[in-house]
Protein backbone atom coordinates (compact mmCIF):
# COMPACT_ATOMS: atom_id res chain seq x y z
CA UNK A 1 0.00 0.00 0.00
CA UNK A 2 1.32 3.44 -0.95
CA UNK A 3 0.89 6.72 0.86
CA UNK A 4 -0.57 9.55 -1.24
CA UNK A 5 -0.79 13.19 -0.28
CA UNK A 6 -3.69 15.22 -1.66
CA UNK A 7 -2.91 18.93 -1.27
CA UNK A 8 -5.82 21.13 -0.25
CA UNK A 9 -5.76 24.85 -0.98
CA UNK A 10 -8.53 27.28 -0.04
CA UNK A 11 -11.15 26.67 -2.79
CA UNK A 12 -9.79 23.34 -3.97
CA UNK A 13 -12.95 21.41 -4.82
CA UNK A 14 -11.89 18.07 -6.28
CA UNK A 15 -9.79 17.08 -3.29
CA UNK A 16 -12.46 14.77 -1.83
CA UNK A 17 -12.94 13.04 -5.16
CA UNK A 18 -9.21 12.31 -5.31
CA UNK A 19 -9.17 11.08 -1.72
CA UNK A 20 -12.19 8.87 -2.44
CA UNK A 21 -10.63 7.25 -5.49
CA UNK A 22 -7.24 6.67 -3.91
CA UNK A 23 -8.55 5.50 -0.54
CA UNK A 24 -11.84 3.75 -1.28
CA UNK A 25 -11.56 2.64 -4.88
CA UNK A 26 -7.85 1.79 -4.88
CA UNK A 27 -7.28 1.02 -1.19
CA UNK A 28 -4.31 3.32 -0.69
CA UNK A 29 -3.35 5.37 2.34
CA UNK A 30 -4.16 9.05 1.85
CA UNK A 31 -3.04 12.08 3.78
CA UNK A 32 -4.86 15.34 3.26
CA UNK A 33 -2.16 18.00 3.12
CA UNK A 34 -3.13 21.59 4.00
CA UNK A 35 -1.58 24.30 1.83
CA UNK A 36 0.36 25.74 4.78
CA UNK A 37 2.17 22.45 5.37
CA UNK A 38 5.93 22.66 4.91
CA UNK A 39 6.83 19.00 4.83
CA UNK A 40 5.73 16.04 2.74
CA UNK A 41 7.76 13.50 4.69
CA UNK A 42 6.50 9.95 4.47
CA UNK A 43 4.54 10.41 1.24
CA UNK A 44 5.12 8.29 -1.85
CA UNK A 45 3.19 10.48 -4.32
CA UNK A 46 1.47 13.87 -4.32
CA UNK A 47 -1.72 14.98 -6.09
CA UNK A 48 -2.68 18.62 -6.64
CA UNK A 49 -6.45 18.44 -7.18
CA UNK A 50 -8.78 20.61 -9.23
CA UNK A 51 -10.73 23.61 -8.05
CA UNK A 52 -10.20 27.34 -7.93
CA UNK A 53 -7.33 27.64 -5.44
CA UNK A 54 -7.27 31.08 -3.80
CA UNK A 55 -10.21 31.96 -6.03
CA UNK A 56 -7.89 31.87 -9.07
CA UNK A 57 -7.20 35.52 -8.29
CA UNK A 58 -4.60 37.24 -10.48
CA UNK A 59 -4.32 34.18 -12.77
CA UNK A 60 -5.48 30.59 -12.35
CA UNK A 61 -3.03 28.90 -10.01
CA UNK A 62 -0.85 31.99 -9.58
CA UNK A 63 -1.37 32.56 -5.86
CA UNK A 64 -1.46 28.84 -5.03
CA UNK A 65 1.88 28.37 -6.80
CA UNK A 66 3.44 30.63 -4.13
CA UNK A 67 1.78 28.87 -1.16
CA UNK A 68 4.05 27.47 1.59
CA UNK A 69 3.38 23.84 0.61
CA UNK A 70 4.73 24.41 -2.90
CA UNK A 71 8.34 24.64 -1.70
CA UNK A 72 7.85 21.14 -0.26
CA UNK A 73 6.19 19.90 -3.48
CA UNK A 74 9.12 21.28 -5.48
CA UNK A 75 11.65 19.56 -3.18
CA UNK A 76 9.63 16.33 -3.35
CA UNK A 77 9.69 16.47 -7.17
CA UNK A 78 13.38 17.30 -7.29
CA UNK A 79 14.26 13.99 -5.67
CA UNK A 80 12.05 12.13 -8.13
CA UNK A 81 8.77 11.94 -6.22
CA UNK A 82 5.77 11.57 -8.53
CA UNK A 83 3.50 14.64 -8.64
CA UNK A 84 0.19 14.78 -10.50
CA UNK A 85 -1.62 18.08 -11.12
CA UNK A 86 -5.22 17.76 -12.23
CA UNK A 87 -6.99 20.73 -13.87
CA UNK A 88 -6.38 23.57 -11.39
CA UNK A 89 -3.50 21.47 -10.05
CA UNK A 90 -2.03 21.52 -13.58
CA UNK A 91 -2.45 25.31 -13.69
CA UNK A 92 -0.65 25.56 -10.33
CA UNK A 93 2.29 23.46 -11.61
CA UNK A 94 2.55 25.70 -14.69
CA UNK A 95 2.49 28.84 -12.56
CA UNK A 96 5.09 27.32 -10.24
CA UNK A 97 7.36 26.75 -13.22
CA UNK A 98 7.42 23.02 -12.52
CA UNK A 99 5.89 22.34 -15.95
CA UNK A 100 6.42 24.28 -19.19
CA UNK A 101 3.78 26.55 -20.75
CA UNK A 102 0.80 28.61 -19.63
CA UNK A 103 -3.00 28.49 -19.69
CA UNK A 104 -5.22 30.92 -21.54
CA UNK A 105 -8.98 31.23 -21.35
CA UNK A 106 -10.79 28.75 -23.57
CA UNK A 107 -10.84 29.97 -27.17
CA UNK A 108 -14.51 29.03 -27.43
CA UNK A 109 -15.65 31.72 -24.94
CA UNK A 110 -17.29 29.02 -22.86
CA UNK A 111 -16.63 26.99 -19.74
CA UNK A 112 -16.34 23.45 -21.09
CA UNK A 113 -17.85 20.68 -18.98
CA UNK A 114 -17.98 17.54 -21.07
CA UNK A 115 -16.57 14.08 -21.64
CA UNK A 116 -13.53 14.02 -23.93
CA UNK A 117 -11.12 11.53 -25.44
CA UNK A 118 -7.38 11.89 -25.03
CA UNK A 119 -4.57 9.97 -26.66
CA UNK A 120 -1.54 8.83 -24.69
CA UNK A 121 1.56 10.42 -26.25
CA UNK A 122 4.18 9.58 -23.65
CA UNK A 123 4.52 6.57 -21.40
CA UNK A 124 7.72 7.96 -19.87
CA UNK A 125 5.94 9.01 -16.67
CA UNK A 126 4.96 7.04 -13.56
CA UNK A 127 1.30 7.85 -14.36
CA UNK A 128 1.31 6.48 -17.91
CA UNK A 129 3.96 3.78 -17.66
CA UNK A 130 1.52 0.90 -17.84
CA UNK A 131 -0.41 2.42 -20.76
CA UNK A 132 0.65 2.22 -24.37
CA UNK A 133 1.40 5.03 -26.76
CA UNK A 134 -1.65 5.82 -28.86
CA UNK A 135 -4.06 4.41 -26.27
CA UNK A 136 -7.31 6.41 -26.11
CA UNK A 137 -8.78 7.31 -22.72
CA UNK A 138 -12.15 8.82 -21.94
CA UNK A 139 -12.33 11.36 -19.13
CA UNK A 140 -14.36 14.48 -18.36
CA UNK A 141 -13.08 18.04 -18.47
CA UNK A 142 -14.53 21.01 -16.58
CA UNK A 143 -12.66 24.26 -17.05
CA UNK A 144 -12.78 27.82 -18.34
CA UNK A 145 -9.02 28.21 -18.67
CA UNK A 146 -7.65 25.08 -20.26
CA UNK A 147 -6.34 26.55 -23.47
CA UNK A 148 -2.75 25.32 -23.22
CA UNK A 149 -0.23 27.70 -24.75
CA UNK A 150 3.51 27.68 -25.25
CA UNK A 151 5.37 30.09 -27.52
CA UNK A 152 6.77 28.49 -30.68
CA UNK A 153 10.33 27.78 -29.55
CA UNK A 154 9.23 26.35 -26.21
CA UNK A 155 6.59 24.23 -27.92
CA UNK A 156 9.18 22.73 -30.28
CA UNK A 157 11.45 21.98 -27.35
CA UNK A 158 8.82 20.11 -25.36
CA UNK A 159 7.48 18.28 -28.41
CA UNK A 160 10.96 17.12 -29.36
CA UNK A 161 11.68 16.07 -25.79
CA UNK A 162 8.49 13.98 -25.73
CA UNK A 163 7.04 16.04 -22.90
CA UNK A 164 3.50 16.02 -24.26
CA UNK A 165 1.69 13.28 -22.35
CA UNK A 166 -1.88 13.57 -23.63
CA UNK A 167 -3.62 15.17 -26.62
CA UNK A 168 -7.34 15.68 -27.19
CA UNK A 169 -8.54 13.32 -29.90
CA UNK A 170 -11.72 11.78 -31.26
CA UNK A 171 -13.01 8.37 -30.21
CA UNK A 172 -10.82 6.77 -32.88
CA UNK A 173 -7.66 8.43 -31.55
CA UNK A 174 -7.38 11.00 -34.34
CA UNK A 175 -5.98 14.31 -33.11
CA UNK A 176 -7.86 17.01 -35.01
CA UNK A 177 -9.44 20.42 -34.66
CA UNK A 178 -12.91 19.03 -34.02
CA UNK A 179 -11.68 17.10 -30.98
CA UNK A 180 -10.09 20.16 -29.41
CA UNK A 181 -12.46 21.46 -26.71
CA UNK A 182 -10.64 24.63 -25.69
CA UNK A 183 -8.21 25.80 -28.38
CA UNK A 184 -5.10 24.22 -26.83
CA UNK A 185 -2.06 24.46 -29.08
CA UNK A 186 -1.56 21.13 -30.93
CA UNK A 187 -4.44 19.67 -28.86
CA UNK A 188 -2.26 19.40 -25.76
CA UNK A 189 -4.22 18.02 -22.78
CA UNK A 190 -1.30 17.08 -20.54
CA UNK A 191 2.46 17.59 -20.24
CA UNK A 192 5.35 16.33 -18.15
CA UNK A 193 8.65 17.74 -16.88
CA UNK A 194 11.89 16.55 -18.52
CA UNK A 195 12.42 13.89 -15.84
CA UNK A 196 8.86 12.63 -16.28
CA UNK A 197 7.89 12.50 -12.60
CA UNK A 198 5.79 15.68 -12.69
CA UNK A 199 2.64 15.48 -14.83
CA UNK A 200 -0.22 17.91 -15.34
CA UNK A 201 -3.44 17.30 -17.20
CA UNK A 202 -6.73 19.14 -17.70
CA UNK A 203 -9.08 16.09 -17.76
CA UNK A 204 -10.21 14.68 -14.43
CA UNK A 205 -9.07 11.07 -13.94
CA UNK A 206 -10.64 11.04 -10.47
CA UNK A 207 -14.06 11.60 -12.05
CA UNK A 208 -13.55 8.65 -14.37
CA UNK A 209 -12.29 5.99 -11.99
CA UNK A 210 -15.47 3.98 -11.49
CA UNK A 211 -17.54 2.39 -14.24
CA UNK A 212 -20.72 3.76 -12.71
CA UNK A 213 -19.47 7.25 -13.65
CA UNK A 214 -19.35 6.37 -17.34
CA UNK A 215 -15.65 5.62 -17.59
CA UNK A 216 -13.04 3.85 -15.55
CA UNK A 217 -10.14 5.02 -17.69
CA UNK A 218 -8.89 7.59 -15.18
CA UNK A 219 -8.15 4.80 -12.73
CA UNK A 220 -5.44 3.55 -15.11
CA UNK A 221 -3.30 6.60 -14.34
CA UNK A 222 -3.52 6.01 -10.59
CA UNK A 223 -2.94 2.26 -10.98
CA UNK A 224 0.09 3.02 -13.11
CA UNK A 225 1.75 5.16 -10.47
CA UNK A 226 0.93 2.62 -7.74
CA UNK A 227 2.61 -0.10 -9.79
CA UNK A 228 5.56 2.20 -10.48
CA UNK A 229 5.93 2.93 -6.76
CA UNK A 230 5.72 -0.76 -5.87
CA UNK A 231 8.42 -1.59 -8.40
CA UNK A 232 10.62 1.19 -7.07
CA UNK A 233 10.11 0.04 -3.48
CA UNK A 234 10.97 -3.55 -4.38
CA UNK A 235 14.14 -2.50 -6.19
CA UNK A 236 15.19 -0.38 -3.20
CA UNK A 237 14.58 -3.25 -0.79
CA UNK A 238 16.40 -5.63 -3.10
CA UNK A 239 19.42 -3.35 -3.41
Amino acid sequence: MMRFGVVIFPASNCDRDCVHVLRTVLGQEVEEVWHEEQSLDGLDAVVLPGGFAYGDYLRAGAVAARAPVMAAVRAFAQVGGPVLGICNGFQILLEAGMLPGAMLRNAVLRFRCTMVHVRVESTQTPFTRTLREGQVLQMPIAHGEGNYFAPGSLLSTIEEAGQIVLRYCDAGGRVNHGANPNGSVRNVAGVRNPAGNVVGLMPHPERASEDVLGSGDGRLLFESVIMWLETRKRSLVGA
Binding site: A62, E95, G101, L104, N147, F149, P151, G183
Partner: protein
Protein backbone atom coordinates in the same frame (compact mmCIF):
# COMPACT_ATOMS: atom_id res chain seq x y z
CA UNK B 1 4.50 57.03 -0.29
CA UNK B 2 4.53 56.74 -4.06
CA UNK B 3 1.83 54.84 -5.88
CA UNK B 4 2.68 52.91 -9.01
CA UNK B 5 0.18 51.58 -11.48
CA UNK B 6 1.04 48.39 -13.34
CA UNK B 7 -0.89 47.69 -16.53
CA UNK B 8 -0.78 44.05 -17.60
CA UNK B 9 -1.93 42.82 -21.01
CA UNK B 10 -1.63 39.64 -22.99
CA UNK B 11 1.23 39.92 -25.48
CA UNK B 12 0.28 40.83 -29.04
CA UNK B 13 -0.54 37.63 -30.89
CA UNK B 14 -1.66 35.77 -27.77
CA UNK B 15 -5.35 34.96 -28.04
CA UNK B 16 -7.46 37.22 -25.81
CA UNK B 17 -10.80 35.43 -25.55
CA UNK B 18 -12.04 37.94 -22.99
CA UNK B 19 -11.22 40.81 -25.35
CA UNK B 20 -13.12 39.04 -28.13
CA UNK B 21 -16.17 38.61 -25.91
CA UNK B 22 -16.10 42.28 -24.90
CA UNK B 23 -15.71 43.22 -28.55
CA UNK B 24 -18.85 41.25 -29.37
CA UNK B 25 -20.68 43.06 -26.58
CA UNK B 26 -19.66 46.48 -27.89
CA UNK B 27 -20.77 45.56 -31.39
CA UNK B 28 -24.09 44.40 -29.99
CA UNK B 29 -24.52 47.90 -28.55
CA UNK B 30 -23.97 49.37 -31.99
CA UNK B 31 -20.29 50.33 -31.73
CA UNK B 32 -19.55 48.62 -35.00
CA UNK B 33 -16.50 50.62 -36.03
CA UNK B 34 -14.36 49.29 -33.19
CA UNK B 35 -11.73 47.10 -34.79
CA UNK B 36 -10.16 45.50 -31.75
CA UNK B 37 -10.48 45.01 -27.99
CA UNK B 38 -7.84 43.71 -25.61
CA UNK B 39 -8.63 43.25 -21.93
CA UNK B 40 -5.87 43.57 -19.37
CA UNK B 41 -5.65 44.37 -15.71
CA UNK B 42 -4.39 47.19 -13.57
CA UNK B 43 -2.62 46.70 -10.26
CA UNK B 44 -1.91 49.67 -8.04
CA UNK B 45 0.86 49.30 -5.50
CA UNK B 46 1.94 51.71 -2.78
CA UNK B 47 5.64 51.39 -2.06
CA UNK B 48 8.24 53.07 0.15
CA UNK B 49 10.07 56.12 -1.25
CA UNK B 50 13.18 55.24 -3.23
CA UNK B 51 11.76 51.96 -4.48
CA UNK B 52 13.65 51.15 -7.65
CA UNK B 53 11.85 50.49 -10.92
CA UNK B 54 13.91 47.33 -11.17
CA UNK B 55 12.30 46.03 -8.02
CA UNK B 56 8.80 46.65 -9.38
CA UNK B 57 9.84 44.98 -12.62
CA UNK B 58 11.00 41.99 -10.60
CA UNK B 59 7.60 41.80 -8.87
CA UNK B 60 5.93 41.74 -12.27
CA UNK B 61 8.25 39.13 -13.66
CA UNK B 62 8.08 36.85 -10.62
CA UNK B 63 4.39 37.09 -9.80
CA UNK B 64 2.15 39.90 -11.00
CA UNK B 65 2.46 38.95 -14.67
CA UNK B 66 3.22 35.69 -16.44
CA UNK B 67 6.08 36.69 -18.77
CA UNK B 68 5.33 33.76 -21.05
CA UNK B 69 2.02 35.29 -22.15
CA UNK B 70 1.82 38.79 -20.68
CA UNK B 71 3.63 42.11 -20.86
CA UNK B 72 3.38 45.10 -18.53
CA UNK B 73 3.82 48.84 -18.22
CA UNK B 74 4.70 50.66 -15.04
CA UNK B 75 3.55 54.24 -14.50
CA UNK B 76 3.71 56.52 -11.48
CA UNK B 77 0.40 57.78 -10.19
CA UNK B 78 1.62 61.41 -10.38
CA UNK B 79 2.04 61.02 -14.15
CA UNK B 80 -1.74 61.08 -14.40
CA UNK B 81 -3.38 64.51 -14.30
CA UNK B 82 -6.92 63.31 -13.65
CA UNK B 83 -8.51 64.79 -16.78
CA UNK B 84 -9.43 61.33 -18.04
CA UNK B 85 -11.23 60.30 -14.85
CA UNK B 86 -14.69 58.83 -15.39
CA UNK B 87 -17.67 61.09 -14.84
CA UNK B 88 -20.11 59.06 -12.81
CA UNK B 89 -23.70 59.75 -13.82
CA UNK B 90 -26.43 59.81 -11.17
CA UNK B 91 -27.98 56.81 -12.85
CA UNK B 92 -25.84 54.50 -14.93
CA UNK B 93 -26.69 54.95 -18.62
CA UNK B 94 -27.79 51.36 -18.91
CA UNK B 95 -30.48 51.90 -16.28
CA UNK B 96 -31.57 55.42 -17.19
CA UNK B 97 -34.78 56.05 -19.05
Amino acid sequence: MPIYRIIIELKPGVLDAQGQAVHQGLRALGYETISGVRVGKCIEITVPDQTARDEIDAMCERFLANPLIEEWWIERDQDRDGTGRSRVPVLPRSQGS
